[in-house]
């Protein structure tokens, strides 16, 4: 039995269905992420788990027990809010002690447990400060310590790093991973940031328009997206859509406008005549000078139309001679050299049949 079972949960606001028959099982000890664009229903789902909102249909079970009818203060679940929501009139210690006092923990035990929680988030010596005397990252740690101090079975985190700058966010990501590992508490994490989700999670549920599009491990989600939405939302992706002409030996041949025939490995047999898409990650595409000898399964001549220098890598947008467009990514591994190609250069782009992943539609 999973720790948290979300079964066919529906939540409507008027005509708008914010959460549409969502079912997810989350195992104890998991770092689980709800990922999706804003308005996809991920925060609504989190509020349903916390108890701030009630589902219009379906059930939410924690340890096999239906949570319906239990207000938030009676659920053993804790939330880390996006705005931190620290009590401004209490010190850091006061904030962290709050759930212990509400939980009728004997006064004698409180200082020790507060200290342990602050140690967990590396905030020793900050107990006497007030929230307004802390930096964003420190406030975030207090919010986490306050949520963890009662050792809840489940911690809900609502975009907890969204307000931090990029550098600090990366630091906190690493800390969250080790913290979750240390305390062994199940995390349900909400974010719209796909890199954050990939970096942190054991499993990710990608949500779109209130529905779960795919639940998978980060590497499977990235490598084998099940829908156009997932392929496009997770990382960058070239989506080449066309009709299947033939399938043989697990390789489908698609007729793609702007390219011509393109080969793609297909896990399940593709029906001839149906419309499918090849999801192709930019880093899987090789970009070379035209005179190169060895050929790929798929190879097209073209011109560099645009490029984006990112420091470690450069993204090249190539227009093929047939009128198609692909994005290719090249690591800038040669020292002192910013880029290999310039806009207007003639190039060949190529990839193996196994580089792409076939999707319906």
């Amino acid at each position: 039995m999973a720790l948290l079972e979300i079964q066919d949960v529906v939540r409507r606001f008027g005509d708008f269905t914010a959460v549409d028959r969502v079912s997810i099982d989350i195992e104890a000890g998991e770092f689980f992420t709800l990922l999706g664009p804003s308005g996809c229903g991920k925060t609504t789902l989190l509020r349903l788990i916390a108890g701030f909102d009630r589902p219009d249909g379906g059930r939410i079970l924690l340890n096999g027990e239906d949570l319906a009818g239990r207000p938030p203060e009676q659920r053993p679940v804790r939330t880390v809010f996006q705005s931190y929501a620290l009590f401004p009139h209490m010190t850091v210690e006061g904030n962290v002690a709050f759930p212990l006092k509400m939980g009728k923990v004997p006064d004698a035990q409180i200082p020790e447990r507060v200290k342990a929680a602050l140690d967990d988030v590396r905030l020793q010596g900050f107990g006497r400060r007030f929230p307004h005397e802390l930096s964003g990252g420190q406030k975030q740690r207090v919010a986490i310590a306050r949520a963890l101090v009662t050792h809840p079975p489940l911690l809900l985190l609502d975009e907890p790093l969204a307000a931090l700058d990029a550098k600090l966010r990366e630091e906190m990501q690493l800390e969250l991973i080790s913290l979750q590992h240390e305390v062994g508490i199940t995390f349900v994490y909400v974010t719209h940031d796909q890199t954050e989700a990939l970096a942190l999670s054991h499993r990710i549920a990608v949500m779109n328009k209130g529905r779960v599009e795919q639940i998978d491990e980060p590497s499977r989600l990235y490598g084998y997206p099940k829908s156009r939405f997932v392929a496009d939302f997770i990382g960058h992706c070239n989506l080449l859509t066309g009709r299947v002409k033939a399938t043989r030996d697990g390789v489908a041949e698609l007729e793609i406008e702007g390219f011509g025939p393109v080969l793609a490995a297909s896990e399940s047999p593709a029906t001839s005549g149906s419309t499918m898409s090849i999801a192709l990650r930019p880093e899987k595409i090789r970009i070379r000078r035209p005179e190169s000898a060895d050929a790929f399964d798929n190879q097209f001549g073209g011109k560099v139309a645009e490029m984006l220098y990112m420091g470690d890598v450069t993204v090249y947008k190539v227009h093929t001679d047939g009128g198609g467009t692909v994005e290719a990514l090249l690591a800038n591994s040669a020292p002192g050299r910013a880029r290999f190609f310039e806009i207007g250069d003639r190039v060949d782009v190529g990839w193996t049949a196994g580089a792409g992943h076939l999707l319906d539609g």
């Binding site: 701030f52 207000p71 938030p72 203060e73 939330t79 929501a85 509400m102 007030f130 307004h132 306050r146």
Partner: protein, 300 residues
């Protein structure tokens, strides 16, 4: 340099008129009152000449001695403080839930509710006080209802009007908006996320109020209390109109000294005592408020 002189000039132009106004109509009269408190009353009211016929300057502390030695004045003064405190407390108990309901109602409805709170200001103060004479009068429904209940219990009928009860009810009625408005201004700014967090951390409704909402609203409570307590302490019209002969407050005594007894020096002493007491209490509240803010900074 020219620019600097220009700024100084414009600063004086802006702050000059209100400053002059305050000096002429507030600071000087206050000073005159302090001076008057050390002089003797005139034979037919007003003040006796500063320099008497024998050429001696007549300054004394007799009026102060009188205030300190005749216990009746201190008693009235103490009673006024108690009545003002009671008024403040009643306003707080009635005003807090009201301010909270307004602050938590949908945005569109808030303006209407606030308008209703200040609506009484649109009619004259004395008219509103006289209205209570009718509401509390012996023939009014309220008095009859109360007395018929008392009759069942075998108690003599009472008069609601011309009683301490009438004075307190009207004091609370008149001052309630002064409590509601600062409280609303504070409560309206509270972050719902804090209440969500408190609930998520295990606090029930009662605990959420006492541990989060109320401590954060203290600046509003202090402001409202000061705005109610200080005017309530000096009021004279309400006890005059609705109170009985024993319900006089310090404000009535001051008015009496100037208009009826015509003992200006003693009236001045009573005024000064009132002002100093109000200032001390306001200072105390401000000090408590600041001490709290330093210790536990609450968002105003």
């Amino acid at each position: 340099m020219a620019a600097l002189a220009e700024t100084t000039k414009s600063r004086w132009l802006v702050s000059g008129p209100p400053l002059l106004y305050l000096i002429a109509f507030f600071a000087l009269p206050a000073l005159i009152m302090v001076l008057a408190s050390f002089r003797s009353p005139g034979e037919f009211g007003g003040l006796a000449p500063l320099v008497d016929t024998s050429g001696q300057v007549d300054l004394n502390v007799e009026s102060y001695t009188r205030f300190l030695t005749e216990p009746v004045y201190a008693q009235v003064f103490l009673k006024s403080v108690v009545v003002a405190l009671l008024t403040t407390l009643c306003c707080l108990l009635l005003g807090y839930p009201l301010a909270m309901v307004i602050a938590r109602s949908p945005k569109r409805r808030r303006d209407l509710l606030l308008l209703l709170v200040i609506l009484p200001f649109w009619s004259n103060f004395l008219i509103r006080v006289y209205a209570w004479m009718i509401i509390l009068g012996p023939q009014a429904m309220l008095s009859r209802a109360v007395n018929s209940v008392l009759a069942v219990a075998g108690i003599e009928p009472v008069s609601l009007l011309f009683s301490p009860f009438a004075v307190l009810v009207c004091l609370v009625y008149v001052h309630l908006p002064f409590m509601v408005l600062p409280l609303y201004a504070n409560l309206e700014k509270h972050d719902q996320a804090l209440l969500d967090a408190a609930q998520d951390l295990g606090a029930n409704g009662w605990q959420r109020f006492w541990k989060v909402t109320f401590p954060l609203s203290l600046p509003g409570v202090y402001a409202g209390a000061a705005l109610v307590f200080i005017p309530a302490l000096g009021i004279f019209a309400i006890p005059d109109i609705l109170g009985g002969p024993d319900d006089s407050l310090i404000g009535n005594l001051i008015k009496q000294q100037f208009l009826e007894t015509r003992d200006w020096p003693f009236g001045s002493v009573l005024s000064i005592v009132l002002t100093v007491a109000a200032l001390l209490l306001a200072g105390l509240v401000a000090w408590i408020g600041r001490a709290r803010t330093e210790k536990e900074p609450a968002r105003a």
